[in-house]
């Protein structure tokens, strides 16, 4: 039997990418270029998909370069030993990294091709269960010695690199070409997860189909009920009687708009199919509770996945008031707890109401406003068209129809202490 091709997704936190570039660009007293080591954990998502997550970077010290005019950089055994020590301590794999200081995809020089496989062989000998290799960085792209399905730098905007494929120019997307020459190729390759195909998720699915986002994974275990008809886009009256699964409504809507779409429909809670979530590059979440948000954010952080969360509520306090939020939870930056959106107090109040929540008020238009805003954040994240790179915590006032930066955003540090980069991937349990 033929072995199936192993697909590797490589994710690098923006903080580490910046650290590597800063270090590798520094001039050295005699070496022409600098070298470092990137530590990475590997998670097996399925028999043919591995996820490689970068967790730390080790620069080679100034004194560990050997003066050799024949090559750009030659390092001594101390540098290799330090990398091997890191592999042992972190129980992970390692990539030799250096920079070709230009834009566009780099490729290995004759010397790289001759000398680097030897270092990789040494790394493979000491960490045979992990993924090892060498990476060549340019200012905005990569060459990887291991064949990858994608390499992404997780930040705002994303830096996404897929194998070069010829993309067909499609008139369908002509009016959105201002998003960037590469934007349609990114939409064609990126894998997006939608958690919850209700009032918010159904707007999101429809809009992503219009944008040409090809690979969508949709999670919802519910069937269409009469209380959903007031806001579930694409849901029709007869779906109620037939108790159609919401994911099948998603399929019907999305395939009609964009027949080429590649849908993965999960009629379960995402916790029952977590590997389908972990493989996604971005998650858009329209979940009902704080505890669901807490779990979803933790899972996304562990697998270096940006999460765009939306939600709304209607309160009766002597007159109805409607509010909502759009939050971008970006690994390495402020999380929903940092923003004060998730608090122990809210979680406790929700737990106290368990089983007695009742049908909360929900209507179609604020769901549409929040979902559209979230799709806008998604497009900007992927294409970088607006030039923004700021965190997103937007507050929606449904009574006035205004969306503004949430006041808490001004007072929140962009550094997150709840989710540390070193805790990504497989959990780090310490024996006690």
């Amino acid at each position: 039997m033929k072995n199936k091709k192993l697909n590797i997704k490589f994710r690098i936190p923006e903080e580490l990418h910046k650290r590597m570039l800063l270090d590798l660009k520094r001039p050295h007293p005699f070496a022409y270029e600098r070298v470092g080591f990137l530590f990475a954990k590997t998670v097996k998502l399925s028999p043919n998909v591995n996820l490689v997550i970068a967790i730390d970077y080790l620069p080679v010290g100034d004194n560990d370069y050997i003066n050799d005019k024949e090559v750009g950089a030659k390092i001594n055994s101390n540098a290799i030993r330090a990398a091997m020590q890191g592999v042992f301590e972190k129980d992970c794999g390692c990539f030799h990294v250096h920079l070709h200081n230009h834009s566009g995809r780099p490729s290995p020089s004759f010397t790289d091709a001759k000398s680097l496989p030897g270092i990789v062989k040494s790394l493979n000998n000491i960490a045979p269960k992990h993924t090892n290799g060498f990476l060549i960085l340019s200012r905005d792209a990569f060459y990887s010695s291991i064949k990858t399905d994608s390499i992404s730098v997780i930040g705002y905007p994303f830096l996404l690199q897929y194998p070069i494929k010829k993309t067909i120019k499609d008139l369908m997307f002509d009016r959105q070409s201002f998003l960037g020459t590469n934007s349609q190729s990114l939409f064609e390759n990126i894998k997006v997860g939608i958690i919850g195909y209700g009032g918010g998720g159904s707007h999101i699915g429809q809009q992503l189909a219009h944008l040409g986002v090809k690979n969508l994974t949709i999670f919802d275990y519910d069937k269409m009920e009469d209380t959903n008809l007031n806001r579930l886009i694409g849901g029709v009256y007869t779906d109620i009687k037939k108790a159609i699964l919401k994911v099948n409504i998603a399929k019907r809507v999305i395939k009609r708009i964009f027949p080429k779409s590649n849908l993965t429909l999960i009629a379960k809670k995402w916790q029952q199919a977590p590997e389908e979530l972990q493989i996604c590059d971005i998650i858009l979440g329209g979940v009902d509770s704080y505890t669901e948000r807490q779990q979803l954010e933790a899972e996304c952080r562990r697998f270096l996945i940006p999460l765009i969360d939306i939600g709304m509520d209607v309160y009766d306090s002597g007159g109805y008031s409607m509010s909502g939020q759009v939050i971008l939870s970006m690994p390495g930056s402020a999380c929903m707890s940092c923003y004060g959106f998730l608090t122990e107090d809210k979680l406790a109040k929700e737990a106290a109401k368990y089983g007695n929540v009742g049908g909360r008020p929900q209507v179609v238009w604020p769901n549409g406003v929040l979902a559209s805003t979230a799709v806008g954040v998604f497009v900007d994240l992927v294409t970088g068209w607006s030039g923004n790179s700021d965190g997103v915590y937007l507050s929606y006032d449904g009574n006035s129809g205004k969306i503004t930066d949430h006041i808490r955003k001004q007072f929140t540090s962009e550094k997150c202490d709840h989710f540390r980069i070193e805790n990504t991937g497989k959990p780090n349990y310490t024996k006690i």
Binding site: Q271, Q272, Q295, P427, T430, I432
Partner: protein, 113 residues
């Protein structure tokens, strides 16, 4: 979060296979191969002890499986809770703060009686 060594030693006398990890700002003590009362099905599970406030509970004990065979009906209100890359199950069981780790574990386990 660091735990006092004497409390860890005391906890180890009940459940020797312990490790710690952090997730989302919480520190968990993982207990591998925790022996449960004989009537429990299964009666050996892994568990996560969260000694700090989470989800409105001052402390929590999560099990790696839903435990059947309990003599009294219990409210398993946290099912398939995703923590540290695994799914966990917990009974709604309020424990007042201030106990030592070993006491905390035993009080949570009393929910299985």
């Amino acid at each position: 979060m660091n735990f006092p060594e004497d409390q860890i030693l005391e906890l180890k006398s009940i459940a020797p296979d312990l490790s710690v990890a952090q997730d989302g700002g919480y520190t968990y003590i993982r207990i591998d191969n925790l022996q449960l009362p004989d009537h429990c099905q299964p009666n050996v599970v892994n568990a996560l002890l969260c000694p700090s406030q989470r989800d409105g509970y001052a402390s929590s004990l999560f099990f790696s499986a839903h435990i059947a065979g309990l003599p009294n009906p219990r409210n398993w209100n946290r099912i398939n809770v995703r923590i540290l890359g695994e799914n966990w199950y917990a009974i709604s069981w309020g424990v007042t703060p201030g106990y030592r780790l070993a006491e905390l574990l035993l009080i949570h386990l009393s929910a299985l009686r």
